[in-house]
Symmetry: C2
Subunit: 220 residues, 2 copies
DNA sequence: CGTTTGTTGTGAATTCATTCACAATATAAC
DNA sequence: GTTATATTGTGAATGAATTCACAACAAACG
């Protein structure tokens, strides 16, 4: 299962909810394709791979798609997350109420100096030393890294050690398992997604400064 | 020029700076490959495409690489950005001092109610109505969207209208040009990158709940 | 009912990034 | 100076994701 494919599936699902809320009951592959920016044939291929079938004329049934996608995506909400590092990014996330609508719940924050963190969200904040116990007790599997860059790698180690299996990293250093030795022999895999805002901005500057300056047809 | 390729080039550059700071003068393709997580042959291919050549034994000269990469990436810093929507995410970004080290400068924030924004960063905050003038006057080309989802599409229109040509979007709806009509006949292209934190988390939940539960070799 | 229309479903073709494999060659060693 | 060694540079092979193209078919229409 391809990363891009899974992303598309999530996008389909998100869109289907909106269409359903609007009162629609069926969609065509080209509606979905237009909306998420892919070719209709790819939409059909995606569904075909998952054995989701439509109706030779009337398109796909929205309820059916949502139901099947939920199964494939394995979401029997709500999903629980912890935030490690309760600074600017960390608290912005903890205060973001919309997560609830997405079936996502931030159940705790951890910091080296929890006494400095303003507790304006309903999320409890603990000292980082308590993380391992907490994660083990709650069986938490996903966590967000929002500590300073210099702490990121060590924090990752600690989280994996505690039992975290999925990490969203905001530090501007790219984390990968195996970055620091020792861990990769642990048998449980851990998935890491890096959100590198600096890199994204640099990419935009490139597009704006360089790519768009060339003859537009030659540029990417 | 491929998106992935450009991302790799930025990563090479970032890494090369660190190596240089450590006192190194030359690197091999496998050093770079290990560090950013790609095959050495891909590193060589990347450089080959850009006609950056190394030395048949001693690898690549770091200074030369940095210099050439800077040219390719078109960075004659510092690059200026505006932030539209000065809420939790927006202010977190404005307060992030590390951008300076990356040659990125946030020059202004815009909001519908600037009087409510705590001005704890050095960045001036203006009413959204002043954005167009500001952007035109400063020739700003890149902006960040951090307004509520419901405002995101309209905000994008306004930014493009004002002359912004690269957008980093934090709203959880995927923005694309052509989303709302009318704009796509404007001849200037605008690049949009969406950072969808909810989607990233959902993806992690999928990995953790579904993919890793199957026989690990069959899962993605 | 028969015909037209529009949409799915999918095997084949295509495209494109990555990896392979190895010849070319600069440096080091002796 | 000759030989050994390490690393580059790149054309060919591979592999994967996407698009193409069209047959199959359900619904709508007359
Ligand atoms: N703020 C931004 O706009 C922004 C932009 C791009 C990248 N980032 C990255 O996001 C990360 C967080 O940024 P921020 O601006 O929120 O930083 P911040 O300094 O506001 O917050 C960091 C928090 O982590 C805590 N902390 C430090 N060491 C810790 C440890 N070992 N364990 C647990 N907590 C620890 C600190 O007490 C602090 O509360 C950084 O890596 C930064 O590079 C931030
Ligand atoms: N905070 C998070 O952790 C988080 C996580 C995921 C996604 N997001 C997305 O990021 C965006 C911003 O989130 P936030 O938490 O910072 O929201 P927020 O409500 O804290 O801030 C939004 C700001 O935008 C301003 N605003 C509203 N309409 C505007 C307009 N038309 N023009 C200019 N400014 C306007 C508001 O005054 C407010 O200051 C949202 O789209 C949200 O979905 C946020």
């Amino acid at each position: 299962m391809n990363k891009e494919l899974i992303l598309r599936l999530s996008k389909y699902k998100r869109l289907l909810f909106k269409l359903k809320a609007l009162g629609l009951e069926r969609v065509f592959s080209n509606n979905l394709g237009d909306a998420i920016g892919v070719a209709p044939s790819l939409v059909r291929k995606d569904f075909s791979v998952l054995s989701l079938s439509g109706n030779k004329r009337g398109g796909y049934d929205i309820d059916m798609l949502i139901e099947k996608l939920d199964i494939v995506l394995g979401r029997d909400k709500p999903q629980e997350v912890i935030v490690v590092g309760c600074g600017r990014i960390g608290t912005a996330l903890m205060q973001y109420e919309e997560f609830r609508n997405e079936g996502i719940k931030i159940i705790a924050g951890f910091d080296v100096s929890p006494e400095n963190v303003s507790k304006t969200s309903g999320v409890p904040i603990y000292h980082i030393k308590e993380m391992k116990d907490f994660v083990e007790k709650n069986g938490t599997k996903v966590g967000i890294i929002a500590v300073p860059d210099s702490e990121a790698a060590a924090t990752l180690d600690m989280m994996i050690e505690s039992g975290i299996r999925g990490v969203l990293n905001f530090a501007t250093i790219e984390l990968r398992i195996n970055n620091r030795g020792e861990i990769d022999n642990e048998e449980q895999p851990c998935t890491i997604h890096n959100i590198n805002i600096c890199l994204e901005l640099e990419h935009l500057f490139y597009q704006v400064n360089v790519a768009n300056e060339m003859e537009p047809e030659k540029a990417e």
